[in-house]
């Protein structure tokens, strides 16, 4: 058993992703998305994927590349605005979609990682989201929500060490640490790969125990979706 988690690049780190795999993909819109892993997916001869991601790409970029290749069987996400490719595939029934309130989405992923078998939340009560779900009344009527897990998580961090300890920049953290906890195999790409001990132990956002593979990514675009500046 080798203990090295360090891989050379996205192609090598994603070697065992197959057709029908379920994959969580981190980031929000185009912010903090695992660009190298998404490119690798777009080059692999696989399909029928289940993708769990807040937006499944946006504005024609990110996971939309994979979406347009018709490799996605099922999309589990929270928001479709700004992703016309996804909206079209859903409205024309080319793809199965499951829309989840974003807080429930986060908490279900966390639950999978943290060993919680189910939890009650008022979010979604009285809406389509409640369809078929068990309801129990606490201070308010609540839905029973179940853990959301996956075969793989592909996520990006700003800095990672060889053990997989991660540090995220600004608002790029989002769902990524949670997905790392919830997936059987978590593949991390980082802007900067450092030696263990280089991230202050108090400031590690995700302990390396949740990471199986890590590599330093290349050619990041870090695209801005809506550039807004002062006057």
């Amino acid at each position: 058993m080798t203990t090295s988690k360090v891989f050379k690049n996205a192609k090598e780190a994603t070697f065992d992703i197959k057709s029908n795999s379920s994959i969580m993909s981190g980031g929000f819109g185009l912010c903090g998305i695992p660009e190298n892993c998404i490119d690798a997916l777009s080059e692999m001869d696989i399909n029928e994927l289940t993708i769990i991601s807040n937006n499944i790409g946006n504005s024609g970029r990110g996971l939309v590349k994979v979406l347009r290749q018709k490799k996605i069987k099922k999309a589990i996400c929270t928001y479709i605005g700004g992703n016309p490719d996804l909206e079209e595939q859903i409205l024309s029934n080319q793809i199965i979609s499951e829309l989840i309130p974003q807080g429930t989405f986060s908490e279900r992923i966390r639950a999978a990682g943290m060993g919680i078998r189910g939890f009650y939340t008022p979010t979604g009560f009285g809406t389509m989201v409640a369809d078929g779900k068990e309801i129990k009344v606490f201070d308010k009527p609540c839905l029973l929500e179940l853990p959301l897990n996956a075969d793989f998580a592909i996520i990006k961090a700003e800095i990672g060490d060889h053990y997989g300890n991660l540090w995220f920049k600004e608002t790029a953290r989002t769902f990524s640490p949670l997905m790392a906890m919830a997936a059987k195999t978590t593949i991390v790409e980082v802007e900067k790969l450092v030696n263990v001990g280089e991230i202050k132990p108090e400031d590690i956002h995700l302990p390396g125990i949740f990471v199986q593979r890590i590599f330093e990514g290349q050619n990041y675009k870090n695209e801005i979706e809506f550039l807004k500046t002062e006057n």
Binding site: G81, G103, S106, M128, T171, T174, N222, L227
Partner: protein, 211 residues
């Protein structure tokens, strides 16, 4: 022209801001509500949360301070104020769902007299997705909907009963449109305030729905 009497977007946002006590916390939805971050007076010491994982949004960045990893939930570049913090989505929504956010300001497609809100899809036509809206309306202490008074077809969005898929049940506290400020109270819309020279007739809301 009725339009000449309407509040401008800035005037609508000022009405929204007038509800915030000094030191309160606010989450801003996508679109019009984000104007709050740009217009708010710093002395109010408001902490603006964006559900993608930041507390302490300030407004727009200077051109030379733009960061692709510093955005709001509308995926627009932002700046932050001193005392801001970043966190993951579980903590971000815990902040919302745990009742720690004082105000949620968000857009609407329909609001009815019971305070029900619809704002995430038109079946067969348009799916925006609920994003964080369902969490926000159930979690924030006060929910303010800021929206155009009329649909593109000219019908009022303040209705007796929502027809679109709901975002939340009995969740809206205040509605701000370009015609006035309203509250769903006892199965009617209470008129809190009307824009200058706007009359009750201008609202085009059925008379029996007005308190």
């Amino acid at each position: 022209m009725l339009e000449n009497k309407f509040w401008t977007k800035n005037e609508m946002i000022k009405k929204v801001i007038s509800y915030f006590p000094n030191g309160s916390s606010v989450n801003l939805g996508i679109g019009l509500p984000t104007l709050v971050a740009e217009m708010i007076n710093e002395d109010l010491n408001i902490f603006i949360q964006s559900e993608n994982g930041v507390l302490g949004v300030k407004g727009r960045p200077k051109k030379n301070e733009v960061s692709p990893t510093l955005i709001n939930a509308g995926k627009e570049t932002i700046s932050i104020k001193k005392g801001a913090s970043f966190f993951d989505s579980a903590l971000s929504f815990g902040m919302i769902r745990g009742g720690h956010i004082d105000f949620s300001v968000l857009g609407g497609m329909e609001v009815d007299v019971e305070g029900n809100l619809a704002n995430w899809m038109v079946p067969g036509e348009k799916i925006t997705g609920m994003g964080g809206a369902m969490d926000l309306v159930n979690g924030a202490k006060c929910v303010i909907v800021v929206m155009n008074h009329f649909t593109k077809k000219g019908n009022p969005k303040l209705v007796k009963k929502c027809t679109l898929p709901l975002t939340g049940v009995k969740v809206v506290n205040i509605i701000v449109t370009e015609l006035g400020v309203f509250k769903p109270v006892e199965n009617k819309f209470e008129i809190v305030e009307l824009a200058n020279k706007i009359t009750v007739d201008d609202l085009q809301i059925e008379k029996e729905l007005i308190k």
